[in-house]
């Protein structure tokens, strides 16, 4: 039986460095190629030596697919393609292709220029890597080769995020990447058709959470920001440059407008302007409302939000600052955090998930004393708030996606083991399908049960249809008779005659012959006629002929009568039938063995 194998190199019972290998129908696919924010050593990248010990990956992978531009999904891509070595196709959507290199370059700068790491990918490598990228359009069926096809679906989450359907023959896998099932202020909800994959590989960041309504969270967020501003505090919102940032900017912009607030809102890094431009040009990837109104009013042109300069952090008075990166693990957001952490009037709002090992994760767990580089400690006095704005599907959303796609098996990645365990139980109970959650390096094998496609000759099909009652129901199986020819990877079902002709073979007839003794005191001719009459009354609906040459023929069965040499009352019947009429032939022989009823003349 064919099998599909799934091995996470990253994101197996973990969040970060998403990288999942899938083997399906003889093809190997890498899904995402991310980095881990929580590590600064080798563990930062997936362990590609799992694929091969010596050298390049090109021979071992048929394609690489990147679901979206977050670094935990694409951060290891230049390392994989340029340093380990991979020259095959890399697929991602247009917005991802546009934004991904910018974030990679940012990441490279922080790591190499600020932290002084060597042996890291270079700007040129990012460029070379991006040259291998083939853009994907939503719903387009891309033929990677003759057998492997992939199709992208809208995933919400961030601009350009996609789920992908991977298909070889009649076997298929869906990988969700990160997705969300509820539309937000700037993106729509994920959608997939009833594609019934053999495995649905889903993220499970919020496996145990059922989140309250978005409106409540937004109100909470605005209230907290507002209160902090009112008492003269500074609010830091660590975000990633693209994605949540735009949603929160739209939120604050409209709030400032409505409440007529004057406190400044800043956005760190030069990316803002550029980032907003991406949203303008890729407006078809945003939600319905923004798309409908963009000609009249573009939601990504902000009036109240201005560019941040490092010196503003020391300005007196209240302010709101969006700064990157989102998990407080490096860069500007961390610098500002260090400056403001000591004042209890200030506030930091973490709007998304933080990976283990990052400062964001530590303060969210209530840690109030942080060890910094060089043995210094930092007292955290400011208020720490967590607001889940990161657009992942919650438990309800994951269940909803399962209902949409109707997978035969479920596989969870991109989540914490304990939470996955809980969701796994729930899925198995509600849908009665198997649910897997392999750890990194662990392989899940699923056996598939595909139907075998066959080309049937039209002649045979018509003949079969003429034989049996109502038209064949395409949903119901049906037995038919024919010869299966396997030739050059194709299967044909044809009539035996056609098969013989095609193969240049002569037809051999197989006939069964048997003798039946019968006590019947009549002349041979009479006995034969009695048999004819008897069969006529028993076998309704068959063609029975009494030929003048002294034989009775039922379909292909020949019956002859002769008298025994010893006793003229004992008749010997000769029955002969072809293999095709075996059923009827054996029925007749056993019928005639019972003798003829006396009432026949």
């Amino acid at each position: 039986m064919p099998e599909i194998k799934v091995t996470p190199l990253g994101a197996g019972q973990d969040v970060g460095r998403s990288c999942i290998l899938v083997s399906i129908g003889g093809k190997n696919i890498m899904l995402d190629c991310g980095m881990h924010m929580g590590y600064n050593d080798d563990r930062r990248f997936p362990d590609f030596s799992y694929i091969t010990q010596n050298g390049r990956l090109t021979d071992f992978l048929d394609c690489v697919i990147i679901s979206h531009f977050h670094l935990d999904h694409c951060g290891a891509l230049p390392y994989m393609s340029e340093m380990v070595g991979y020259d095959g196709p890399i697929y991602m959507t247009h917005p991802t292709k546009a934004i991904c290199p910018i974030l990679l370059e940012d990441f490279r700068k922080i790591t190499v220029d600020k932290k002084g790491e060597t042996n890291f990918f270079t700007s040129q490598m990012i460029k070379d890597c991006m040259k291998k990228v083939i853009p994907l359009n939503l719903h387009q069926t891309v033929q990677v080769d003759d057998e492997l096809e992939i199709k992208a679906y809208y995933a919400g989450h961030v601009l350009g995020a996609a789920m992908v359907h991977i298909k070889v023959g009649s076997e298929s896998v869906v990988y969700t990447g990160d997705y969300n099932m509820t539309p937000d202020r700037h993106l729509g909800a994920a959608w997939i058709d009833k594609c019934r994959p053999d495995i649905l590989i889903s993220e499970s960041t919020y496996a145990t959470t059922i989140r309250d309504s978005k409106r409540c969270r937004e109100r909470d967020f605005l209230k907290k920001v507002h209160e902090s501003i009112e008492r003269g505090g500074k609010v830091l919102i660590p975000v990633f440059a693209l994605g949540r940032a735009q949603e929160l900017c739209i939120l604050l912009e409209t709030f400032w407008e409505r409440m007529n607030l004057k406190a400044p809102i800043y956005f760190s890094t030069g990316l803002t302007e550029k980032a907003n431009h991406y949203y303008k040009l890729f407006i078809t990837w945003t939600n319905q409302k923004i798309r409908k109104t963009f000609v009249q009013r573009n939601m990504f042109e902000f009036k109240h939000i201005k560019a941040f300069d490092r010196s503003y952090a020391d300005n007196p008075g209240p302010m709101v600052v969006f700064a990157t990166p989102g998990m407080l693990h490096a860069g500007q957001s961390l610098q500002i955090f260090k400056k403001w952490a000591g004042n209890e009037k200030n506030m930091v709002i973490m709007p998304g998930y933080c990976v283990q090992g990052t400062i964001g994760h530590k303060i969210l767990n209530g840690q109030r004393k942080l060890e910094m580089e060089g043995r210094a400690t930092l007292d955290v006095k400011l208020q720490v708030e967590y607001m889940s704005f990161s657009a992942h599907a919650d438990a309800k959303g994951i269940m909803q996606l399962i209902r949409m796609a109707e997978p035969r098996n479920m596989l969870l990645v991109h989540g914490e083991a304990v939470k996955m365990e809980f969701l796994k139980g729930k899925i198995e109970q509600e849908f009665s399908i198997d649910c897997y959650m392999p750890a990194n390096g662990e392989t899940t094998t699923v056996t598939t049960n595909p139907s075998v496609p066959v080309d049937i000759s039209l002649n045979l099909l018509k003949r079969e249809m003429a034989l049996g009652g109502p038209l064949p129901d395409p949903k119901k199986p049906r037995t038919m008779h024919g010869t299966l020819i396997m030739k050059e990877n194709s299967l044909k079902l044809v009539s035996s005659e056609q098969a013989l002709k095609e193969l240049g073979l002569n037809e051999h007839q197989l006939r069964f012959t048997c003798h039946v003794q019968l006590q019947d005191p009549h002349s041979d001719a009479d006995t034969l006629h009695r048999i004819y009459t008897h069969l006529k009354s028993v076998l309704k609906g068959y063609t029975i002929q009494h030929l003048p040459d002294g034989t009775v023929i039922v379909e292909s069965i020949v019956i002859k009568v002769s008298s025994s040499t010893e006793d003229s009352n004992t008749k010997v019947l000769l029955l002969s039938w072809s293999y095709q009429d075996e059923d009827l032939g054996s029925f007749l022989s056993s019928l005639l063995k019972k003798g003829l009823p006396s009432g026949i003349c």
Partner: protein, 529 residues
């Protein structure tokens, strides 16, 4: 398998394919050339047009003075312009399962097909096709409703009377089928039946047939379609282009191995080279402006205008036209310009790369930013106060029968300093100009039609090797006016199967195999010998 041909216009096709128990309509083009028989709809009261004499037959027995007016030596119908619809009697339109749209010019009859006919199917189109198609329909409705004309003219359509009329009215065909424009409500209802598709997306119809759009290179989101089952393949080639303009290049290789290829939408200007026409357009424009005249460009609000603006963007500085105002006037001008910038996925490679920077793909964004190009919804309002001459005006409709262009014809027609440059190939420019004669203004005809010419198409067909080709009968003989040009027709072996309006063709298919599936339970017990 049959093909029902509901339109006789080769570039505005409407065919119905019955294939494997599905009924598929291929495009629904609206033939608008019928409007040339009508008087223009002026935006402001025109004393000239309102004082035209009514038409009376020579012997004086027939007086249709209310319906027909004599103008510049021709007779025109004085009523709201009407369009020639696809045939509606040839088959029951309510039996159509799906409609496949190839580009936004070929969907303008959609409301006539989907509304009031009992149609319950689905329409498939790409996103740019839907969005721009919606804009063009909106514009058409707006043009008509802005200058309401209560009067409808039907008496002249009487066969006996029509026979007595002078040409070209006398020779107009199927005049009883002509209909007025639809309403916005009908447009919205029709478009709500559209389901969006992406290039190379495989759409299953009832498990019997698979349809898939391919890039055709002609306009934003334009597509050819593949209609296939496991063993039969029909390719539908509509407006396609091999020139490098703004859309994604044409996908040719996917058309290979077709049993039947239906070929429509070839260039209407087989002898005019688009590049040459573009050059002529620019030089005539510059010449007129330098002489102090105005330039009027009657055009559609989407399509070639993007290329014209891009060409001008490069030309303006070198031709010293930096201070000349360029106006684009249409109820959908702003939308059309904005929409063109957001379809990165559907653009050619060069434009896609610009979006990655991120920069707008079309340079008209910069023309607008630097105030060189201004757009207005109509001549009323802001335009009337900001309008400076000499200038260049892009505006519709290219038939010169309705839209803001009518006003500029009345305004500028009397001066020989001004020039009108025709760029759209859909209308004969002489017929378009007929009700404005005599004109002093210069007329330049530079039709830009980027669709395949006969040379390109025969090369394409050699490449993709279809078993049979079906095409409008116009393509099987040289044009009437150039009967010696045997290079302006399709010559194929076997010869193409021609169709005309109301033809029903039996498509030559040899079906020999059908697809079935062996159940896995059964497959494992099969022993091979």
């Amino acid at each position: 398998m049959k093909l029902y041909c509901l339109s006789g216009h080769p570039t505005l096709p409407c065919n119905v394919l019955k294939f494997k128990s599905t009924t598929i309509m291929l495009d629904c083009g609206l033939d608008t050339t019928s409007v040339l028989n009508f008087l223009p709809l002026p935006l402001v009261h025109s004393p000239r047009l309102s004082k035209l004499p009514g038409w009376v037959s020579k012997d004086g027995t027939i007086n249709l003075g209310k319906e027909l007016k004599e103008c510049a030596g021709r007779v025109f119908v004085d009523a709201q312009p009407e369009f020639c619809l696809p045939e509606r009697e040839l088959l029951d339109l309510s039996t159509i399962d799906v409609i496949l749209i190839s580009n936004y010019h070929c969907m303008m009859a959609l409301p006539y097909i989907t509304e009031h006919t009992g149609f319950t199917g689905t329409v498939y189109a790409t996103e740019p096709t839907l969005q721009i198609g919606r804009l063009l329909m909106e514009e058409l409705v707006n043009f008509m409703e802005r200058v309401p004309k209560a009067q409808s003219a039907t008496s002249w359509k009487n066969k006996e009377i029509q026979r007595m009329l002078p040409g070209p009215l006398k020779d107009a065909v199927d005049v009883w089928m002509w209909k007025r424009c639809y309403s916005m409500q009908e447009v919205n209802s029709a478009l709500s039946k559209v389901q969006l598709v992406g290039y190379s997306q495989k759409v299953e119809l009832f498990g019997a047939v698979q349809v898939s759009p391919l890039s055709s290179g002609y306009s934003l989101g334009s597509s050819n379609w593949i209609i296939q089952s496991h063993h039969e393949k029909v390719s539908y080639v509509s407006g396609s282009s091999l020139l490098t303009t703004h859309p994604q290049p044409m996908d040719q290789s996917s058309l290979k191995n077709s049993d039947v290829l239906i070929l429509t939408g070839l260039t209407q200007m087989p002898t005019a080279n688009p590049d040459g026409m573009l050059g002529e357009f620019c030089s005539n424009l510059a010449m007129t402006i330098r002489a102090g005249g105005n330039v009027l460009v009657p055009c559609y609000s989407s399509g070639v205008i993007y290329d014209l603006l891009e060409c001008l963007y490069q030309f303006i500085e070198s031709a010293n036209l930096g201070t000349t105002p360029f106006y684009f006037i249409s109820p959908i001008a702003n939308s059309s310009l904005e929409f063109s910038q957001i379809f990165a996925e559907w653009l050619c490679h060069n434009k896609q790369t610009k979006v990655y920077l991120p920069e707008p793909p079309f340079p008209h964004a910069e023309l607008i930013q630097t105030n060189k190009l201004k757009h207005y919804p109509s001549i009323h309002g802001d335009f009337s106060s900001e309008f400076r001459q000499p200038c260049v005006v892009f505006t519709g409709h290219p038939s010169l029968r309705f839209g803001d262009v009518v006003h500029f014809m009345e305004l500028w027609g009397k001066s020989s300093l001004n020039t009108i440059i025709f760029t759209e190939p859909d209308f004969s420019y002489l017929d378009a100009l007929a009700p404005y004669q005599p004109l002093a203004m210069k007329c330049v005809y530079c039709p830009i039609d980027t669709r395949l010419n006969f040379h390109q198409v025969s090369k394409l067909l050699k490449e993709v090797q279809p078993l049979h080709v079906v095409c409008p009968e116009q393509y099987t003989q040289p044009p009437l006016t150039q009967s010696h040009r045997s290079d302006l027709m399709l010559e194929l072996q076997p010869p193409p199967m021609p169709y005309r309006r109301c033809s029903v063709l039996n498509l030559p298919f040899r079906r020999r195999y059908e697809r079935i599936y062996i159940l896995p339970e059964c497959a494992v017990i099969l022993a091979l010998t």
